[in-house]
Assembly symmetry: C2
């Protein structure tokens, strides 16, 4: 694919103006061509106006049409997979196998969401038949369906150049919902973004979509990002990134004359509770599983388990020793950018300086030619120190975890009560542990989007029943998920037709149910005809 | 029922401190005893802490338990209906028949929501079975369910002392969702609120609910209201009232360290489009129906049709003349409070002064002994004047409507495009009109929560398929509805169990489906066993 270094605006391209920026290879520190030009104000305005115009036409597309668009996009991504993966590897230092997996996930997601809208799963079709004879007043005929919110601004993530970026979850959800998309590209993978954006442009054109269905704009968060979120024609925002960045966008959106929803996934420390029976039964498995999860992809996952609670005991010490051996033996890895590497080192350093926190692994000094190389770190503390230093419950992005020794089950409970909202919590437990720690389970249910019984939280399955969300500050809005078919609903709202002629209703609501979809009819769920 | 003039705090009562206030009979201007004491800061704190403590226990209640509570409450309201209606009539000047209807609606709503949670309709149960053999990685077992957000602050409305107040839609939705409720009473019906609140307290006690399940606090919006919305233990807000009041709460909620959702229903002008074939076929029906809808309950409905578009023609003039006769002949009515009466008169006056707006009905001077008596008003203008005076698209609460003569279909379309978000829009139309005005239909779909084909928007059926919502500024959040079983979802969020032992799952998610509810299993909707 021929990279131009320019924004994608509907069916066209941005212009080469301003100071261009190059992508940086984090493994070498060297720039990678071509140079990229930030979108001008006029180009941003053009993209938004095109999207607003496209929104009306796109809102009329059937589920099948939207499904076809997503399927076509999946095929194009696969056909160009090798080139995309090679470029992403240069820009992010992520290994090829991981990126191939991420591409497969991205395509699977497109197909699953395409299927869901084709099958009417997210239509939310409800019918309450009227009754003209009802006393004292006739009952009207009501039929409701989910309709799109309008143009969506998507902020792509650094740590998933494919699955949470230009063609990632928010883009797939918004297109499935019938909303045009404007992506703000992440500076960490400029070329990969252009490749993927070009394929979305191609898929949209080949599907006969209106010109403004998709744009990809280059720029920075403070200017381009804020301009998009403030724009009256933008109706919702999807974001994956830092708490500071997400909260800034939430505040901008809430201060608009017409506030709009912001779905910001802002990360989490994903507490793991290692409970006594499980620890006694398989200390080695838990240590090796935890180590693998913490260090996977150089710890650059929102679901990275950054906090581990364990009852103080001889078994806990043996477990810690095993974990320490594994963490210390982990080869250094290259993070996505030099900036992330520096933040990681600083975060670990700050934690280590707190009285009562011990660092069990050696600091490293070799930052690699790109300044982005880091070593995994293991910290340990006691529950009192943890509870007295709120700072220790904040995420340090990278391959580090903090083990908290608890003097009693009551202390573990107290520490759990103090936790903020999380994407996940994990119980390393036996069924007996669950019974003995019922209160802990109840507390964590109220604080997380996903509760795991054993296993580890990294690896977020794309599925109907997935919740990749959770109470603030894990996300801006715990009522939503950014992974799984329920994510499509974040860009929809209900709308009701009253006493409409059958022929003027969308097919999803027509009496004969021509699409054969599942509906809620007079309070009863009817299954799909298949 | 014995009225004490005190807040209800869990199982107890507030104290008699501060300057007490009395309810006012708007028909006579006379105070009605007893005097009411505003809740103290300490009492507010006590109610919130009780609610926070109750939230954990209440979140474990089964759908059936919550359903029983709602059914019990409906029975108590019915058993005490005559007394409640009599008191409401004194405080609001609403006729007894209307209040009896409202009480029946309130009880029906409790029962319908109770049924919905008993049947698992709002559980959102989804199951994706695992596959340990999947390559390259095993597939985990995922099961998701909707869980309550936590304590909800409900602001009751002036215009529905029962259906949108202490035991109204938001309270029913929140209890059905499993969330404790703290109601801020409206000053327009202090005694009616205490009666209803006392019955909720009784129902909660008889059902064995935790003490903090429900509180009713007396106070004003600027103090009590803001304190509640700012309180860290409050997790969501339901509000029905003015745009200014709703927006103020939205801004307070968005500025919290942990922002929370605010569901504010802020009213609407509910445009009616009288299309040519329908006007030709039944001008008298449309005039009489519109008149009845505008003047129903002295125009005090959020769905009051305050704006009518019609193509300028001789038929339109005949329709206007008929409407004028009916509006002029309407007896004066008493509004809910003297303040609302004054706002109404001022709003009509301001519109009448705009050049290009003509008032077709005589102003009235008799304000009645309570200063709350008003006459219905009919205003007429042309589309250009309407489009040039944005003010004319704002709601005047009361029995007034503004007819806009349009010189062409294009002009009607232009005026429609300019409208803000609305609760409803109505097409007085034939199927032929719908075909000829396809663009208008598409535009209005994007702006409303409910689109009517004939009929009039007042009268909001409590049903599964109802949407009583719509894009801002009709509501704070067009993704929700405040009427119908979908309203329960506003106080829920999804949560996923990964690889959990069957016995430790909620019954809704257990493999054997012991409750026999409808679920989404591996992407297919399975109906309920019944």
């Amino acid at each position: 694919m021929n990279l131009q270094g320019l924004s994608i605006i509907g069916h066209g391209r941005g212009t080469a103006t301003g100071t261009p920026r190059q992508a940086i290879n984090p493994a070498t520190g060297q720039p990678i061509g071509p140079a990229y030009c930030w979108a001008t104000d006029a180009e941003v305005e053009q993209a938004v106006q095109l999207a607003a115009a496209a929104a009306v036409e796109f809102s009329r597309w059937s589920g099948e049409q939207k499904g076809d668009l997503l399927q076509r996009l999946a095929r194009l991504l696969e056909a160009n997979g090798a080139e995309i993966v090679a470029r992403a590897q240069l820009e992010t230092a992520l290994p090829a196998a991981r990126l191939q997996g991420e591409l497969a996930r991205t395509c699977f997601q497109m197909r699953l969401y395409g299927e869901a809208v084709t099958n009417g799963l997210t239509a939310g079709a409800r019918i309450d038949h009227g009754d003209p004879q009802r006393q004292p007043l006739p009952k009207v005929d009501l039929r409701s369906i989910m309709v799109p919110l309008g143009p969506v601004a998507v902020f792509s993530a650094s740590n998933f150049p494919l699955a949470f970026s230009v063609a990632g979850g928010d883009t797939a959800s918004a297109l499935a919902a019938g909303c045009p998309v404007i992506v703000k590209s992440h500076q960490g993978h400029l070329g990969c973004s252009e490749m993927v954006g070009g394929l979305i442009q191609q898929a949209a054109r080949e599907s006969g979509a209106p010109a403004g269905l998709f744009s990809l704009l280059y720029g920075d968060g403070a200017n381009l990002g804020v301009t998009l979120v403030r724009h009256p024609q933008i109706r919702a925002v999807g974001f994956t990134g830092s708490r500071r960045g997400g909260r800034a966008l939430m505040d901008v959106a809430a201060a608009r004359p017409e506030p709009i929803p912001v779905y910001a996934e802002m990360g989490s420390i994903n507490p793991v509770f290692v409970l006594p029976e499980a620890l006694a039964a398989r200390p080695g498995d838990i240590a090796s599983g935890l180590h693998a999860s913490v260090t996977l992809g150089v710890g650059q996952f929102c679901t990275n388990p950054g906090l581990v609670f364990v009852a103080a005991s001889a078994q806990a010490e043996a477990f810690l020793a095993e974990l320490r051996t594994r963490m210390a033996a982990t080869p250094a890895g290259t993070m996505l950018t030099a900036g992330l590497g520096a933040s990681y080192r600083q975060g670990v350093e700050e934690f280590s300086k707190i009285a009562g926190v011990e660092r069990l692994t050696e600091p490293d000094t070799d930052r690699g030619p790109g300044n982005a190389r880091v070593k995994a770190a293991l910290l340990v503390t006691d529950a009192e120190t943890f509870m007295q230093n709120g700072h220790l419950a904040e995420e340090v992005f990278g391959p580090v975890t903090l083990v908290v020794r608890c003097a009693s089950p009551a202390q573990m409970l107290a520490a759990a009560r103090q936790l903020e909202g999380q994407l996940t919590a994990t119980l390393c437990a036996t069924p007996g542990d669950l019974q003995a720690h019922g209160e802990l389970v109840e507390i964590m249910k109220l604080k997380v989007g996903r509760l795991l019984f054993n296993g580890f939280p990294t690896g977020v399955e794309v599925a109907h029943a997935m919740t990749h969300g959770g109470p603030y500050p894990a996300t801006s809005d715990g009522r939503s998920t950014s992974v799984g078919t329920r994510a499509i609903e974040r860009f929809l709202r209900p709308m009701t037709y009253q006493n409409f002629p059958d022929a003027n209703l969308p097919e999803e609501l027509q009496e004969a149910n021509p699409l054969g979809i599942s509906r809620l009819c007079d309070g009863k769920v009817t299954p799909a005809n298949s």
